[in-house]
């Protein structure tokens, strides 16, 4: 057979092969995406607890995974993202185990559901309850945080605390690190951040304004220990720790 014919046929075969390869990869990826979307939908009810960034206040038991440190990052951060994955598949189990745990912890007010759902060996998040966990929580209470004086939010309750990282955005939209359901809060309402060691509150052009000790914040204001921050129907007290 002529060499050129072999080469030409081979060339077409090779091209067809590479296209088939690409098609296989496409099919695989799309199948993967579909499976992921399906899983996401089945997990949708569990998503509500995703913005659990607050610590339950004293004397309150709430059967909901509260991850205190999650506030330091945006919503899809490690603990917050993986937490529903852990809890959703074993949702009833988690509810069942966490409710008594929470009521047991009673007055001490530790967020009971910190406990991982029992059969989750592969999930890296939900840390096993360590002995020094309590001490850690204590340390967090001494760290700078917001104390909820009055809540216009569905999930925040008076007496809760919200730990503050270097920058915490507050607003109604999901992209905020502290997302409030309060309808008088703008979707991008305020930012509390550290600058040169000073804790500042910046208003991000909210409709109804942010008030510190009753005065409307013009652009930015330095926070001091004990300041009362009001936005919408929610009132926080800033505690430097």
């Amino acid at each position: 057979m002529d060499l050129t014919i072999v080469l030409t046929i081979g060339k077409y075969a090779l091209l067809a092969g590479i296209y088939a390869f690409v098609l296989l990869v496409f099919r695989g990826i799309i199948g993967h995406l579909v499976a992921e979307a399906r899983r996401e939908r089945s997990e949708a009810p569990a998503r509500r607890s995703r913005r659990a960034v607050v610590q339950a206040g004293p004397g309150r038991d709430r059967p909901q995974p509260a991850k205190p440190r999650a506030v330091s990052e945006k919503a899809p951060s490690a603990p917050a993202e993986a937490a529903p994955g852990a809890s959703s598949l074993t949702e009833p189990a988690a509810r069942a185990t966490s409710a008594p745990a929470a009521s047991l912890s009673g007055p001490s007010g530790r967020p009971g559901p910190e406990m991982p759902a029992p059969p989750a060996p592969d999930v890296p998040v939900a840390p096993a309850p360590e002995p020094d966990k309590v001490r850690e929580d204590e340390a967090e209470r001494r760290a700078p945080h917001l104390y909820v004086v009055e809540s216009g939010d569905e999930e925040l309750t008076d007496g809760d605390t919200v730990p503050l990282s270097a920058a915490v955005t507050i607003g109604r939209s999901e992209e905020n690190s502290l997302c409030l359901t309060d309808r008088f809060v703008s979707s991008r309402h305020a930012l509390i951040c550290l600058r040169d060691g000073r804790r500042l509150l910046l208003d991000r052009g909210s409709t109804n304004g942010t008030f510190v000790n009753g005065e409307r914040v013009d652009e930015e204001v330095e926070l001091e220990d004990g300041d009362r921050i009001a936005l919408g129907n929610t009132v926080f007290q800033y505690r430097a720790g």
Partner: protein
Amino acid sequence: MKEIPEDRRTELILLLFATLLIGGGGVLVCIGMGWPLLSALRPLTVIGAILAGALMLDLADSHRDRWLLPIVSVIAGTGYLLLSQLDETSASRQLIWILMGSGVMVATYYLIEDIRDLARLKYTAGVLGIALVGLTLAFGVEVGGAKIWLEIPGLIRFQPTEIVKILMCIFLAGFIAERSELMREDTRQVAGMRLPRLRHVGPLVLMVLFSLAIFVGQRDLGPAVLIFGLFVTMVYIATGRKSYVGLASILFAGGGVGAYYAFPHVATRFDMWLNPWTEPTERGYQILQALFALAEGGLVGRGFAIGVGSTIPAATTDLIFAVGAQQLGLAGAVVILILYALATHLSFSIAWRSTDSFGALLAAGLATVFGLQTLVIIGGVTKLIPLTGITLPFMSYGGTSMIVNFIALGLLLAVSRDCLPRRRQR
């Protein structure tokens, strides 16, 4: 025997498919070039190296991305097939680079126990990157007009700019991950635009300006464009503010005009992009040969070994895409582009799904470098944009480039291992 999980099986099937493809291609090249059929084993070694790498990556923990390696193996295999026809010594060296690269990828994957630890090394990476380009500027060896090589006599010779890409990715990801919210929200109005305060971005801007200045000093504008694009993309990803992109585009346009008047070789590239026919045998030679090769390829190409691009300058490195298009035609060129697009998409998808902000930014940065590099050189070869000397990842001949790309691949896989949400096993 233990049952192989489904995603792992997919990867193995795809890699075996790639073996078939590249093996077949190797046989074609051997027939065409009149080599003994045993030479077809050499392109197979390329896939073998990556397949072995994939198997070694599975020794410890099998949770990672499953699509990148097969795609890269097809790209690298095709690149080797083209290269082997052009220059035999380069080809055998490239084979060694690929083998080493696969090993380095596995080493990177295992040496980094948790990719998030890498965030602590951000300043080290930044300073090291600048030191490397600085050293090149001071002690660099000049090869072919550009002073982009660094040599330790008798030991190794490498291109630091390739390594700097990754170091800059680590630095930018670590730096921005720490303060993306500050950069987004703690802003100041300047001339109607909301810009972040200098104290949040100062070191960032300084580092980037410095590296840009050094690259410009080296007259090596390809990497400068790359680093600048990386910087802008990462800031945009972190803050989501389009005004930065607008500002950067204006700066880029200004810098481009400035470079046109300041550097004659930039002016050459630009003039020859506008009209290569003014000097078809001198300054326009390179781009015209590339265009001729594309034209010769036509719809389905000349086929292996028939149209060997010996007249194309820098055929083994920068213009290898033109050789591919010559031999496999538009059909082949498009499928190569699809493979690159898929690899870029998959890298960005690792970033997108990552649960850790550093991991996400690192993956996004590596994806940006990969995609941008492909875009800049293929755009240059096809005369969509002015031609810039830069390698085509995983295809061009070049030791540093190949190994660095494998390191980047190892980092991406490590991100996919550490930062993607895990599914529970049934």
